[in-house]
C-alpha cells in the first residue's frame, strides 16, 4: 500500500473502532441509568413500575419494623409530604436511623411497597444524602442547598 492509502486505512479502522465503542458505551449507558424519584412523585404514580429506580427522604420516626426471625425490615420513607413503604432484606448501613436521611434503590412491588435491593446512607452523621435533602426541599417547594464535602456513601446491599 502507498503511504496515503495506508493512512486512510488507519483512519478508517480507527473510525470503525470508535463507532463500535460509542455504540457499546451509549447502549450500556442507556440501560443502566438509574433515575431518582421523591416519595411525592412515587405517590403520584410518576415512578416506573418495572424499572429499577432510587427514592430518598427521611426514615419516618417509629416506622421501622423487623420481621421476627429474619433479616427483613419494613420502614417508611418520607419527604414530609408523602410516604412510601419500603421492604428490605439484609444488613442496614451504620448510619441508618429513624429520622435520618436515606436513599434506597430497588423496584415497586405489586403490593405497593418499594422493594429495596440496596440501602444507602451518607456516611457522616451530620449530613443528609443530597437526594434525600432534594426530595424534602422539593416537597417544600424550594431548591435545596448543601455545602458539605463529599464522602463515600455507606451502602448495604
Amino acid at each position: 500500500m502507498k503511504p496515503r492509502a495506508r493512512r486512510f486505512a488507519w483512519i478508517g479502522a480507527g473510525l470503525v473502532a470508535v463507532v463500535a465503542a460509542s455504540a457499546l458505551i451509549l447502549n450500556a449507558f442507556r440501560s443502566n441509568l438509574v433515575f431518582f424519584f421523591t416519595p411525592s412523585q412515587v405517590y403520584a404514580h410518576e415512578a416506573p413500575q418495572s424499572r429499577t429506580f432510587r427514592i430518598g427522604g427521611l426514615v419516618q420516626q417509629g416506622s421501622l419494623e423487623r420481621v421476627p426471625g429474619t433479616l427483613t425490615v419494613h420502614f417508611k420513607v418520607t419527604d414530609t409530604a408523602a410516604t412510601v413503604p419500603v421492604t428490605y432484606t439484609g444488613l442496614l448501613p451504620d448510619l441508618f436511623k429513624e429520622g435520618k436521611g436515606v436513599v434506597a434503590q430497588g423496584t415497586m412491588g405489586p403490593d405497593g411497597a418499594f422493594h429495596a435491593t440496596q440501602v444507602l446512607a451518607k456516611h457522616d452523621a451530620n449530613y443528609m444524602p443530597p437526594e434525600a435533602q432534594a426530595a424534602i426541599d422539593a416537597a417544600h417547594g424550594h431548591a435545596g442547598a448543601m455545602s458539605m464535602p463529599s464522602l463515600h456513601e455507606a451502602r448495604a446491599q
Binding site: 443502566n32 433479616l71 444488613l91 456516611h123 442547598a145 463529599s150 463515600h152
Partner: protein
C-alpha cells in the same frame, strides 16, 4: 504563633512561585544563564517554605491547638497521635496543602536530579511547575486558608470523621497525591518542549522516568484506597465505581497510555504529538479529579452554587491550565513531525491499539462520572450511573487490551510478521487454553466468564515468560547470569508490571466468579455453614477503645471439626460524635479471605441477643492488590535503568544527555 508562621510561609511561598515561573522563562527566551539559574534556587526555597507551612499545621494538630478552626473541626484530644497527624490532610484545606507540598516536592526532585538536562529545558520545566504552584497557593490563601483562627477557642475539637480514623488514612492520601501531582512533571516537560519546539527522542527519554514514578505511586495509592474500602464499613467490595474512585482512576488510565506512548516516542520517534497531548490530558485529569472531589459538586451541584468561591476558583484554574496548554499544543504540535513508519502489525501498531483502548475506556469512565452532574446541573432530574454500566463497558474494552499485553513485548518494532509472533507465543497460547479449561474446574464450577478471565491472565503471564525466554535464548552471552545481565532494568520492570496485570486479572476473575456473600441472623451459640466452613457465633463483649466504645463479637470458624480461625468483628461507637462504625474481621490467605462483619443487634441489648452478621468468602481477593504492587514495583524497577541516570560522560552529544532520576 506557629499557625501565623505557617500562614506567612505560604505567602512567601506564593511570592517565590511567582518568581520561579517568570524569571526562568524570561531567562530561557533570552538565553540568560543567571535568570535561568533562579529556577533551581526558587524551586528549593519553595519546597522549604511549603514544608514549613505543612509542619506548622501538623504541629497545630499534634498539640491540639483548637484556636485553629481547621484543627477544631477535624481533631480531638482523645484522638491517638497518628490520627491527629493524619488529620492534617483530613480536611479540605489540609488536603490542598498536601497537594502543594507534593508539588513543591516534585519541583525539588526535578531541581536535584536534572543536572544533566539542557539548562533551557530545566528552567522551563521548573517555571511551569511554578505556575501550577501559583494556582494552588492562591487557592489555599484566598479560599481555603488552613490556619484561620477561631475566637474564642473551643475547649474540645469536633473529632476526625470516624471513617477516616484508620491506618489507611495515614498512607493512602500521601501515596495517591504523590502520583496525582507527579503527572505535573510530565506535564511541565511537555509544555517546556512545546515552548522550545523540540519534541524528540531525548525529550521522551527525560520525561519517561518521571512519568513512570508518578504512575507507580498512583498505582499504590489507588490500591491502598481499594484495600481500605474493602475492610472498612463491612462492604467487602474492593471497587465501587464511586465518583471519588473514578477521579483517581482516570489519571491512572491516561498515565498508563502515556507510559506506553512515551516508549514509542523514545524508541522510534513516532506518536510525538499524541504523547504530548496525553501528558497534558493526564495532568488535566488530575486537576479535574481535584475539582470533583474538592469543590463539593459530587455531593450536590447545589453545593457548588451556594459556596461558589472554591468551585469557581478551581473551575477557572482548570480552564486556564487546560485551555492554555491546548492552545499551545494546537499552535506547536503541527511542527512536531510524524516519526518512523511502521507496518500494520508491529510493536508500534500494538501500542497504538493499547492507547486507543485505554483512551476509549477513559472516555467511558468520564462519561459515567460527569453525566449525572450535568443532568443535575441542568435541573432535568436526578440520576445515578451504577457499577452495571461500568462493568458492561469496561470488560469488553479490557479483554482485547489484555490480549495485546501478551503480544506487545515479543513483537518487533517496525514489522512483526504473524508467523514469527506465532512461533514465539504458541506455548503461551497453549498454557492459556489449558488454564482456561482447567482453572474453573479446579474451582468447582465451570463458568464462561471465569474461563475468559483466566485465559487472559494465564496468557499474559505465559507470554511474559515467553518474551523472557526468547530474549535469553537469542542473547550472544554464554552464561545465564551474563544473559540476564545483558538486559536493561527497564525491560525487566516492564515484564514485572505485566506479570502484575496477570495476577490482578486472575484475582478479579476469581473473586467475581466465586465470591459468596451471605447475610444471616445468628443467636449466641448458633452456627451457619458457608462454603464448607462452619461459623459459630459465641456472643459479643464490650471493650473500650481509646476514643470509642466497641462491641466485639467472637466467631469461631471450623472446617470438618478442625479449627480454621477465630474472627472478632467490631461495632464501634465514637464518643465525640456518637457515630457508629463497622470494623470487619478478616482472615487473609493467598487462596482467599474469610470476612465477617457485624450488622445490628436484632434482639436483646446487644451483648446477649441475636445479631445480624455478614459472612463473605472472597477467593483470591488479595491477588488484586498483589498485582497492583507488582505493577508499581515494575515501574520502580524500570526507573533504575542506567540510561536514565547517567550520561555525564556523553554530554558532548546533546541528544544523549540524559535526565538523572531515581
Amino acid at each position: 504563633m506557629i499557625p501565623e508562621l505557617g500562614h506567612f510561609a505560604l505567602i512567601v511561598a506564593l511570592l517565590v512561585a511567582i518568581v520561579q515561573s517568570i524569571l526562568p522563562m524570561v531567562g530561557a527566551a533570552r538565553r540568560d544563564h543567571a535568570l535561568m539559574g533562579v529556577a533551581v534556587t526558587a524551586a528549593r526555597a519553595q519546597f522549604g517554605l511549603v514544608a514549613l507551612a505543612f509542619g506548622c499545621l501538623m504541629w497545630s494538630f499534634a498539640t491540639s491547638d483548637f484556636s485553629v478552626a481547621n484543627v477544631a473541626a477535624n481533631s480531638n484530644t482523645h484522638l491517638p497521635l497518628r490520627y491527629r497527624l493524619a488529620a492534617t490532610w483530613g480536611s479540605h484545606e489540609g488536603s490542598l496543602l498536601l497537594w502543594s507540598l507534593m508539588l513543591a516536592g516534585w519541583g525539588l526532585a526535578v531541581s536535584v536530579f536534572s543536572r544533566n538536562l539542557p539548562q533551557v529545558l530545566r528552567a522551563r520545566v521548573l517555571a511551569v511547575l511554578g505556575m501550577v504552584a501559583i494556582g494552588f497557593l492562591l487557592f489555599l490563601l484566598t479560599t481555603s486558608d488552613p490556619f484561620t483562627r477561631l475566637f474564642p477557642a473551643p475547649p474540645e475539637g469536633r473529632d476526625l470523621n470516624p471513617l477516616l480514623q484508620d491506618p489507611g488514612m495515614v498512607a493512602h492520601p500521601p501515596m495517591l497525591y504523590m502520583g496525582y501531582v507527579g503527572f505535573s512533571v510530565a506535564f511541565a516537560f511537555a509544555i517546556a518542549a512545546l515552548i522550545g519546539g523540540r519534541l524528540d527522542a531525548a525529550w521522551a527519554r527525560w520525561s519517561r522516568p518521571w512519568t513512570t514514578v508518578a504512575w507507580s505511586f498512583l498505582t499504590i495509592g489507588i490500591a491502598l484506597g481499594s484495600i481500605w474500602a474493602y475492610y472498612t464499613l463491612g462492604w467487602g467490595g474492593w471497587w465501587f465505581w464511586d465518583p471519588v474512585e473514578n477521579a483517581s482512576f482516570m489519571p491512572w488510565l491516561a498515565g498508563t497510555a502515556l507510559i506506553h506512548s512515551l516508549a514509542v516516542t523514545e524508541k522510534r520517534g513516532a506518536f510525538r504529538s499524541w504523547t504530548v497531548l496525553l501528558a497534558i490530558v493526564a495532568f488535566s485529569l488530575s486537576l479535574i479529579g481535584t475539582f470533583l472531589v474538592r469543590s463539593g459538586v459530587l455531593t450536590s451541584v447545589h453545593a457548588f452554587a451556594t459556596d461558589p468561591a472554591r468551585g469557581l476558583f478551581i473551575l477557572a484554574f482548570l480552564a486556564v491550565v487546560i485551555g492554555s496548554s491546548l492552545v499551545l499544543y494546537a499552535l506547536r504540535a503541527g511542527a512536531v513531525g510524524a516519526g518512523g513508519a511502521f507496518a500494520p502489525l508491529s510493536r508500534e501498531s500494538l501500542l497504538l491499539g493499547n492507547n486507543v483502548l485505554l483512551v476509549v475506556a477513559l472516555a467511558s469512565v468520564l462519561l459515567g462520572t460527569l453525566y449525572p452532574l450535568f443532568v443535575d446541573a441542568l435541573a432535568v432530574g436526578k440520576i445515578s450511573v451504577g457499577p452495571p454500566y461500568f462493568d458492561t463497558v469496561f470488560y469488553p474494552l479490557m479483554a482485547p487490551l489484555l490480549f495485546l499485553v501478551g503480544v506487545g513485548p515479543v513483537a518487533a518494532w517496525r514489522r512483526a510478521p504473524l508467523p514469527e509472533l506465532w512461533t514465539r507465543l504458541r506455548w503461551a497460547a497453549g498454557v492459556a487454553v489449558v488454564a482456561a479449561v482447567l482453572g474453573p474446574v479446579a474451582m468447582g464450577r465451570w463458568k464462561p466468564l471465569v474461563a475468559l478471565g483466566l485465559l487472559l491472565a494465564a496468557w499474559i503471564a505465559a507470554a511474559t515468560f515467553a518474551a523472557l525466554a526468547h530474549r535469553l535464548r537469542h542473547a550472544p552471552q554464554r552464561t545465564l547470569a551474563a544473559k540476564l545481565g545483558a538486559n536493561a532494568p527497564a525491560w525487566y520492570g516492564m515484564l514485572l508490571a505485566h506479570l502484575g496485570v496477570a495476577v490482578f486479572v486472575a484475582g478479579v476473575t476469581l473473586v467475581k466468579g466465586y465470591e459468596i456473600e451471605r447475610d444471616v441472623r445468628l443467636d449466641v451459640g448458633q452456627s451457619v455453614v458457608v462454603a464448607g466452613d462452619t461459623y459459630t457465633f459465641r456472643g459479643v463483649t464490650a471493650v473500650p477503645g481509646p476514643n470509642y466504645d466497641a462491641l466485639v463479637a467472637t466467631i469461631d470458624v471450623t472446617r470438618a471439626n478442625r479449627e480454621v480461625t477465630t474472627l472478632h468483628p467490631q461495632k464501634r461507637t465514637f464518643r465525640a460524635s456518637g457515630q457508629a462504625m463497622t470494623e470487619a474481621s478478616i482472615e487473609r490467605g493467598i487462596g482467599g479471605d474469610h470476612y465477617v462483619s457485624l450488622g445490628e443487634p436484632i434482639t436483646g441489648s446487644g451483648a446477649s441477643g441475636a445479631w445480624a452478621v455478614r459472612i463473605y468468602v472472597k477467593p483470591f481477593v488479595d491477588w488484586i492488590w498483589g498485582g497492583c504492587l507488582l505493577m508499581a514495583l515494575g515501574g520502580f524497577t524500570a526507573v533504575a535503568d542506567r540510561r536514565y541516570r547517567l550520561a555525564r560522560a556523553r554530554r558532548a552529544e546533546p541528544a544523549a544527555a540524559l535526565a538523572a532520576s531515581t
